[in-house]
Symmetry: C2
Subunit: 289 residues, 2 copies
Amino acid sequence: MVERGGDEARSVGRTTHPLGGAATTVGITGSPGSGKSTLTNALLAEMRRDGQRVGVLAIDPTSPFTGGAILGDRVRMGDHALDEGVFIRSMATRGHLGGLALATPEAVRVLDAVGVPWIIIETVGVGQVEVEIAGEADTTVVVVNPGWGDAVQANKAGLMEIADLFVINKADRPGVDDTRRDIEQMLELSARRDWEPPIIATVATTGEGVRDLWSALEGHRTWLAGSGELERRRFRRATDELVRILSARLTERVTELGEGDAFEQSRDAVLERRVDPWTAADALISATG
Amino acid sequence: MVERGGDEARSVGRTTHPLGGAATTVGITGSPGSGKSTLTNALLAEMRRDGQRVGVLAIDPTSPFTGGAILGDRVRMGDHALDEGVFIRSMATRGHLGGLALATPEAVRVLDAVGVPWIIIETVGVGQVEVEIAGEADTTVVVVNPGWGDAVQANKAGLMEIADLFVINKADRPGVDDTRRDIEQMLELSARRDWEPPIIATVATTGEGVRDLWSALEGHRTWLAGSGELERRRFRRATDELVRILSARLTERVTELGEGDAFEQSRDAVLERRVDPWTAADALISATG
């Protein structure tokens, strides 16, 4: 219902929003092939070992399907497919990109309302939308691989500024130290706040280093709550979401206005030069309340 | 005033719209360096020889300046700089692209209202905005150069579908026949209506072929009026412009709504989970009429 959008989704939002606020959201982003899904799978194992319930939303704006992608993710994160404490959902665009930016916080709200304490938002690519969605989480994890230039590419994609934690995944490959140095250098150049992002080396396929990631996530959550940064982020997020919803609502208005009889009459009046288009537009807007 | 936008521009629109409707607009587009300005300059000479007053709007979304570009155009079209029967104006973006798409029809309206019978809209590049603006004219001229692949590039940029007339400029260079054949082949593949776009070879620097272009423009105008296509195009254009203005007006609304006290109160209510963001957004919209 949330993915479909519309009035049904809004009634879900109305029901779930008052019940939420306790969940921590973790955005996981990084270039395709960096092993985000495998890392999420390994992270789930650590979280489950500590008895934490987890929700995973896999965001793929490039895929035109929603339902169809579920199976794929169940396979990728197959270790947890039958685990009742894990909820996995792939979310793809349903025609328009804006929809995903609106649907993701709505899906978070549902998981939050039913008491899931950790919600992972994994994005498939590093497009603008994915970075934006991942950056909207309480904690943002940026995944890179060892090797020349990967961290530089991540920097170009705007990931350095949003990262709270770095993971160098596939750390059994050569170049881990170089990549760590690249990240450290870029962090020095950027205007950091009082949080120093940890850089964690992992081999997601074997689970190596993933326990450290899980500890770092808990550490960041503690810092967020204690420093007041959690409140600041949620304030900014509420502002952004409200503006986005206002914009979506008013865009719907344009579509509605463009389809009605009143629109046709206004357009004819403009064509016959009885009224200019600005006056006609304002009259249309005020006539429909 | 029109370029600055805002209430002043709208009052200009209110005054000028009822007085217009007689002008023919000609969009001239094509890749940078194809010689559009020189061609426009040569075309102006032909039109002036027949005693026609002409307005030229040179659209450059990439330039951050407006006023500053005038001198450049006066130089490029220097033959007509002191001619009272020619009005030349460069229009550049003032920060946002949408502004140019709104300001161009407004500027056309002003020239139309004061009785200028021919208005040329020359675009500098072949970006989406330029193609859109040029394609909004009564007649769209696409300029290519002789040589391998230029027509193919124009096709890729979406110019084939909007072209009513083709000009192969710099026709003193080799490859004119090949380019003509390329265009003819692409026209055969595309679903054309009852107008067969003429292909005119010109050498803008010497004026060769430009008289043919001017005749072809007049021919297309006659066809537009006689076939009912002019009415259809103006109908579609009025629809598009009204939707664009509605959208701009409602976007202004979002900005206004996002700045007020009511917004802050709503955001706080959302943060404190007293209300969900959808309900808050709708309340904000209806509260401000």
